[in-house]
Symmetry: C2
Subunit: 395 residues, 2 copies
Amino acid sequence: MNLPEKARKLDEADVLRAKRADFVLDDTVYLDGNSLGALPAAVPGRMADVVAREWGRLRIRSWTESGWWTSPERIGDRIAPLVGAAPGQIVVGDSTSVNVFKALVGAARMAHAERDEIVVDATTFPTDGYIAESAARMTGRRVVAVDPSELRTAFGPRTAAALVNHVDYRSGRLHDLPGLTAAAHAAGALVVWDLCHSAGALPVGLDAHGVDLAVGCTYKYLNGGPGSPAFLYVREDLQPRFDSPLPGWNSHRDPFGMSPRYEAADGAPRGRVGTPDILSMLALEAALEVWDEVPIEAVRDKSLALTDFFLECVTAYLPAGRVESITPVPHAERGSQVALRCADAGEVMDALIARGVVGDYRRPDVLRFGFTPLYVSFADAERAARVLAEVISTR
Amino acid sequence: MNLPEKARKLDEADVLRAKRADFVLDDTVYLDGNSLGALPAAVPGRMADVVAREWGRLRIRSWTESGWWTSPERIGDRIAPLVGAAPGQIVVGDSTSVNVFKALVGAARMAHAERDEIVVDATTFPTDGYIAESAARMTGRRVVAVDPSELRTAFGPRTAAALVNHVDYRSGRLHDLPGLTAAAHAAGALVVWDLCHSAGALPVGLDAHGVDLAVGCTYKYLNGGPGSPAFLYVREDLQPRFDSPLPGWNSHRDPFGMSPRYEAADGAPRGRVGTPDILSMLALEAALEVWDEVPIEAVRDKSLALTDFFLECVTAYLPAGRVESITPVPHAERGSQVALRCADAGEVMDALIARGVVGDYRRPDVLRFGFTPLYVSFADAERAARVLAEVISTR
């Protein structure tokens, strides 16, 4: 069976196949959903209603009548099952960077003062490292940057908290969330997980694995739209000890009491800060409708099948040695993307995009291809590899 | 001349009268624009295009091709003339609370360590006080809360920075920005001004008065939509010393270099943090189109005329002693709202809203009426006072 035919069979057998119709797509092969998810079909109509009716007609009344005020918790609870969290632990709002700051300062404040180190995975997305430096500086700690392979042994009696990416944004490597969380706990430390590249792509199991705090973005595999608000998870039993560095009026126990003295709300709303960004918030809520009745396990199965198949096609179509996958082969170590090192990667990606295959380029030499199982087909994967082979062979 | 007739004459003479057509309005008298501005007519079409074409069709390409990446600075420069700032000093993004944190920590870090006090106006909007406490705690300072009337004498050799509201959210009192800024500078301190209730309502003159840093929201008199992103002003000559507590990748000198080491960008972008919230950002940009060719001085003239006329109508229509204005009479001390103390204020406001006059209620006893000169007419002011008199007299 040739590869296009195999793709056809795989697509026919795909239990998520019908979900593709829930997105606005065209004849592009869109493999950049790990940067900006495609537009869910429910969003334009919902946005038009939010703007014209909720803002335009109801105006201020919408804060209560349209449920704007409680949307950060409500949408947090909608995300919760996708990352294995019971309700009441996730709140949506602010950017990922701001939430990393809240989570890391909050975690450091839960630790004894003699624990003076914040451990960060050294290959992290840059903002996590920068914010960790700021959190360390502002809580009297220092950052220790450690290669992810050495994280397990880096946790010790001086570790206040660790900040680890679940999936490396560059290589697509999936880190061992259960094992590293247990190792940190064994050392008496807390862990903040960055789920930007795993939320909506694979089962996370926050509650099951006893994760302490987590943050994640919603514009990648959750398709919330450009710069849609991020989320913050604080495990229920830690919430009373969560001491936010950004205690805005939205996290007050009685926000409309307008008291000059701050008293933190109970529960997930303690992670709120200022007035939430309602247009983006409600676009995200509409985007999350595509998850109705989608088990995250089915998404994971298809994701692995897609990346396996893409790698199979790359191997079959490309001359040996022209690209090198830096994405781990074992499923237990792979997220939902494939990263290929390649000479002239920037120009190669430009040529791919010109031919309707959209991935992205990360300096100096990486082609990134993200596979969003809800709307990427096996035929897409085959075509992407085929076009990549054409581009490479004509250079 | 009776008051309805006077309203008609004033509306006929109003140079901003035509601007009303730039908003989506109905037969409600909407006097809550100091909480959530009305919908500008340009927004729904622009939002539909942002969602369907920029996100839906161009997807990731819009970060460059649709100007998403540079929107925080571009929109900052659009706001700049409204608050008297030259270009290159304002950036848009995050909530007001988050920007208060950036500004206050940034200001404190510019001060000598022996300046150990952050002075805050004691009547401030709660979030400013809460965030000031956090900024003080995290920079080794303490907060000194002072009644605005005593601010001038509160600045001294221990003052690192002050945080002052330009207009009091409750009473509508306008504080003396030029005088207080000069007094702080004379004491060697920096001032952060909160412009939430003045941006778009009156001339601020940031550059002219040598203001150091400022923050403001965009969903009140700037009509940016619910929870639209706030702005941060850092005066040009202070920008090199601005050391943000939230150094996200968007404020890096080379954001796509993905360097593990943070190097702050020059200029206004140094105030950026994470990925900006594009839907809300571009709704705001469309909302700002209503300001084309509107001098802020004309807005101020009409604002004062509106609040004067409303108070005149209240005095004429209401039985003496039933309400008490806590908004200053002198123009130099008045923002763009009128606050009336009133028995059973919560119920009175409910009754007003039921009769199509929308203001808001602030505990325990304040009726707030915001006057947005771009879309509120003198007839609106007269009707609001008349309906208020009806409600009060039937109680």
